[in-house]
Symmetry: C2
Subunit: 198 residues, 2 copies
């Protein structure tokens, strides 16, 4: 039975994004965000939406830069903690034992222990209400060599990212099994439909 | 070893979004998109980025509305097919055997067979280059009653959404195991750090 329900900002799955920034005093900070996604291929862009109450919001406004770090599943407790406390009162790098490294592409730190990060220059800001969307142009990427495929692209089976189940479960998940190849398995459907119509 | 690599629009995981629209002639269409994400909580908003070459781009410009449908994993072949052909030459509902139902909230169809959909009114359009980002304000949600938790929210373990592994794997995946509870497991880290420092 299909139900009509109130509006909810529930996308499944939602990503777990660790946003790296510097303050105007050069202090590195990280926060966890789930509101974001790729917004363009050329130029490559990604958006992340933050509340004005966060330190990261003000850091991005000042430095015009941020990194989007993808934690592997073994860091799910760190990812949760980084989303629970504010960089105003906590040194989250120190408290989690994670290491900030300065990006060579943009004025922001990335997390050394995480498998890869996108290095972003602020391109546009869109105020939407409770959240402000920061659209970053991806200037480069840093990645551990052991999570790359032969084309030097991050392989999801090696990165082992975390998913967030949003408000309906409030849980973190890992990836499961491969279902099939994109731009390929759809052909099987077409063939089976054609067979039926013969 | 950490490598510096060229910019890539690779977010892991990326969602599999089936975008539902009507043409100016009232014909329902669906397309598959991976560039999108939640952009705000209040008002609840979601963005999806489309190329001008797509029929859906023009449908959204005309109707100012779209749905974001989340397919369950058993529909991975359908999701792939819907992303492989254009609604200009194909009736993708008919060819996949999926059923369009008119949203009561917005001027767009949702996919009856999929576990839930967000019903969106176009709020803002941001041109970014190859892709245009359409930000929709979520006006309502339709969901199968058997994928909801007791609070009437879609439960990821019942929805069983599809993930896309992006360019590094070009594969579809399902969700795996629950790692832990959000806004909770981070406390364990804090306790263990505190213990160490005693």
């Amino acid at each position: 039975m299909k139900l009509s329900l109130p509006a909810q900002s529930i996308l499944l799955p939602s990503p777990v994004l660790i946003i790296g920034t510097y303050g105007s005093d050069g202090r590195p900070n990280i926060m966890t965000a789930a509101w974001g996604g790729i917004t363009s291929s050329k130029p490559p862009c990604i958006s992340v939406s933050l509340r004005e109450a966060t330190l990261s919001y003000h850091n991005i406004k000042e430095t015009k830069a941020f990194t989007v770090n993808i934690p592997s599943e073994k860091y799910y407790k760190e990812a949760d903690y980084i989303g629970m406390v504010s960089g105003r009162e906590h040194d989250k790098f120190k408290e989690t034992g994670l290491t900030p490294e300065k990006s060579k592409q943009v004025n922001a730190p990335f997390v050394k222990e995480f498998p890869y990060a996108l290095e972003c220059k602020l391109k546009k800001q869109v105020d939407l209400g409770m959240h402000t969307m920061f659209i970053g142009e991806i200037a480069g990427m840093v990645a551990d060599n052991n999570v790359l495929n032969p084309k030097q692209l991050p392989d999801i089976e090696k990165v082992r990212p975390i998913l967030w189940g949003s408000f309906g479960s409030m849980g973190y998940y890992n990836i499961g099994d491969k279902l099939g190849d994109a731009f390929s398995v759809g052909n099987e459907l077409q063939r089976s439909k054609n067979k039926k119509s013969v």
